[in-house]
Symmetry: C2
Subunit: 98 residues, 2 copies
DNA sequence: TAAGTGTTGACATTAGTTGTCAAAGATAAA
DNA sequence: TTTATCTTTGACAACTAATGTCAACACTTA
């Protein structure tokens, strides 16, 4: 399940745009946007941002969802996934501090 | 920097195996193992496990390092990286519970 | 020299992602 | 029903990234 897709579909509908029109606005093929909204293809950060602008919506939470889905994908079915997450957190904090 | 590579190189040297011999044992090309140890190519989980067996070493921490490096790679330079990590953690905990 | 070590780069192969397109199916209005 | 508009689907091409293969290089030691 892709929360990002569901949310962006809701936003599009709220904005009153058809798939075709939204796709044209952000310069991608209709088919791709359709698949992205339904989770059949991955969004890119770039497209999320362009769509957010189109829908006049703050992209922060969408990007967080997008990134977290990537991470979950890497770690799904991994016995040590949570431990790896903790280590990753330390590394990122350390990097930020420098 | 790849901690996994450094550790596996140390383990190999401690075991007294040359690159060539270790590579033959785990059935990969010498060039690849050389590059993996130096972080020029990515390890796979499979190779880490095979090498750990060869060196008679518990792979758990190596795998955790390996996975965390993947995650860090996904989130490096991301403004909301830490937030995404938190969300990912919740999702994984939720998945585990079910 | 000769044998062993690790490194490098060029290249082919493979796998995965992304883009393009046409057609089909669904829905609603005329 | 016809027409228009919409979304979904699948086949395919194009592109990119990952992986494997190989030969040669430089260095050290016997």
């Amino acid at each position: 399940m892709s929360t990002v897709g569901i949310k962006l579909r809701e936003l599009r509908e709220k904005t009153g745009l058809s798939l075709r029109k939204a796709a044209v606005q952000v310069d991608i093929d209709v088919a791709i946007l359709s698949k992205m909204e339904r989770g059949e293809r991955k969004f890119t950060k770039e497209i999320i941002i362009r769509l957010s602008e189109l829908y006049n919506f703050n992209p922060e939470n969408l990007i967080i969802d997008f990134l977290s889905e990537k991470v979950v994908y890497d770690l799904k079915d991994e016995e040590f996934g949570l431990k790896a997450l903790k280590v990753a957190e330390q590394k990122i904090k350390y990097n930020k501090a420098n």
